[in-house]
Symmetry: C2
């Protein structure tokens, strides 16, 4: 290591840059799961883990697992993780930051000779983005004990199965279910990650304590009216589903605005068979509803269904809402949030709480063991492209907070 | 003729049925301009014209022109017309009805030995729908003297030019510009046509007197905001162009509803790069604005541009409106409207006035000579498909009104 302090912002930025060279496309960062680029990144991460004082293995589903033993052998472990697979044309920080920070925290503990009452395992998950195969979170699901064996038969665009890709990657053969951790041996899971949103920047805060990973409901809304000739159908005789949809879109926005942490998005809209000179006969749009609190999300959905039916009725059109995806919220553990807030405050930062609108590996651990997440401010809320950025100062502060949290973890509630 | 009365509804319906057999697709009516089906229809129409006592010719642009001489040779003519080309999978009435009615009116005059002070020319135009070549109304434009010679070079989907198609059709060679009529020899133009809208049916009226063929403005509206992650971007930080577009769509509807005879339609809307989980960055929609009065249409457009800019400003998004098509209204001649209303009233029907939202061959005669149109009630306002329907009773009444109008035309204002 070129610097004496593994938590220094410049050291961490250097590692993120180095890791970004593990890519399938020169010039941009593209590292889909179980590809040669992923293997290259896993090797680098393994080397850094060993250097930090950890024993390292690749597990049966392709995670890189580094273990820093506690005072007693087989002590229960605090898991610290994030992922090293990326989207196409990705940023350097998404996922990779949390892995690099976890390794640095252990390196700092080891450098200072700290042996904790608990073990620390840093895990570089390898399948968070889900671009190569249809399913996702296989790495964290295996650790959680909720791995679905059928995902070994998932096939990528070239016809390669996940099972074959795992073999090519060099993952040891064997039953993936064996990777399941006994919750009695896991104290909890903490993940540091860039926010991927603009809230911390807007509030001029370097870090935030996550309250929950939002639950989500996605739906397709259909509004059916009566198509007609744009020139010959008088306004008062129209049953225009687009006007109804416009009212619905504004009602969706108003409902989400009325409640903190609730977000609602209409991201696609179309008029099948639409033409400039035809009064629409049908409109379709999607709804994406997210909240850290399931009951709040469900109440909003019920309200909106009622509001949309009312709008449709008042305009003599018909509407249906079909739920296409539903995921419950993953609340972060209140005790871990309190500990993390204390570590944030320890470094003089304001312990600000916010939900996570994006999904993370922590989702897989819902109901298995306590989870916590530390968000790091990112520029403009931008993620999933080359403009993704977090400053060395924020990264250094976040790393010191994470290390403090890990170090203090065994020392009573 | 199987019936003694050429104006009888059953005779006219029989002719429409017979004409509908001239099609390119057995079982449905498809008769694109200058195709063999069009030629077959032109032959049938020519025969009916001759039988009615007219001299007949195919002109250089493919119109079928029948002339019923007045009391003096070369007397100025009242033109009576519509078109015999159709859309794909068309109804039997659109266009064809006006031609069949015009021929029947002359047949009735001839049968009764009526020689008028003016001539009557029935013209079956052949290029109103514009499906085969890019341009349209070439038949009526040639008669109006506003034919654009470049449209002879128009090419259909098979690479056939209009010039070649005219030769194949059997149109006489020669300069199409020669078909231009001297306005001094034309008294006016009258066209009977199904309404293609639901107004007459809604008011339980068999016919209507057209006030104008609506002018139209078509525009593409673009609203640009800032794209974002549907989960991580809080509501209060969004610049969502779809919400702005929704307000605009409702404002467009409200503006059109505020004024009789103004219609405004948003017929297409899209979110480029839209996805269920992405806050839209850009929305595009089309606007179709029509009115029988140009100043009303232009005022509405100016109002809407201001309203849309205000909505965009209030939401910190940007909007542009690009006009893609603009056509002035073609007012029907007030004196001809009055004459036609008198003929309607003569048969005990209410002389109801309404604008035409759809375009017609009469558009080509704007500013050349007076035009008038008689609309016939059609079922459900349906047109351009096999469900298009007008009743024999309405058709007979409309034919008697048209004949009365033609017969009375020479007899002073």
């Amino acid at each position: 290591m070129s610097d004496h302090d593994p938590l220094s912002g410049s050291v961490l930025m250097g590692r993120l840059d180095e890791l970004a060279h593990a890519t399938s496309e020169p010039g941009v960062l593209t590292r889909l799961t179980l590809t040669p680029a992923h293997r290259e990144a896993a090797k680098l991460v393994s080397a850094w883990m060993r250097e930090a004082g950890m024993s390292v293995r690749i597990d049966r589903i392709g995670n890189v697992v580094g273990r820093y033993e506690g005072a007693t052998r087989d002590a229960p472990a605090l898991l610290v993780g994030s992922h090293i697979d990326t989207v196409r044309n990705a940023g350097r920080f998404d996922g990779n930051l949390g892995v690099v920070m976890g390794i640095a925290a252990v390196a700092d503990l080891a450098r200072r000779g700290c042996v904790l009452s608990h073990a620390v395992e840093v895990i570089a998950f390898g399948d968070e983005e889900g671009l190569r195969f249809r399913t996702t979170l296989t790495g964290s699901r295996a650790v959680a004990g909720v791995f679905n064996p059928s995902s070994l038969a998932d096939v990528d665009a070239d016809g390669v199965t996940r099972a074959q890709a795992l073999a090519d990657f060099g993952a040891p053969r064997g039953d993936v279910a064996e990777e399941a951790r006994d919750p009695a041996h896991v104290l909890g899971y903490i993940e540091a990650h860039i926010e991927q949103g603009p809230v911390l920047e807007d509030r001029e805060l370097p870090v935030g304590v996550v309250t929950a990973i939002n639950g989500a409901t996605r739906a397709e809304v259909q509004v059916r009216g009566v198509a007609g000739h744009a020139g010959t159908l008088p306004m008062h005789m129209r049953h225009d589903p687009l006007s109804a949809a416009a009212e619905m879109i504004l009602a969706i926005e108003a409902r989400a605005r009325s409640e903190a942490d609730l977000v609602a998005t209409v991201g696609t809209i179309s008029i099948p068979k639409g033409a400039v000179n035809v009064v629409p006969g049908e409109v379709r749009f999607t709804l994406d509803l997210r909240s850290p609190v399931d009951s709040a999300r469900n109440a909003a959905r019920a309200d909106l269904e009622g509001i949309m039916k009312g709008i449709a009725k008042s305009r003599s059109v018909e509407t249906t809402l079909r739920v296409t995806y539903e995921a419950p919220a993953t609340p972060c553990d209140p005790a871990l949030q309190a500990r993390l807030s204390a570590s944030v405050a320890h470094f003089g930062a304001a312990p600000f709480h916010l939900p996570s609108g994006a999904g993370h590996d922590a989702l897989a651990f819902r109901g298995r063991w306590p989870v916590a997440m530390l968000f790091v401010r990112c520029a403009g809320g931008v993620s999933h492209n080359n403009d993704e950025y977090a400053s060395p100062q924020d990264i250094e502060l976040a790393s010191r907070i994470l290390t403090h949290f890990i170090e203090g973890f065994g020392q009573g509630a």
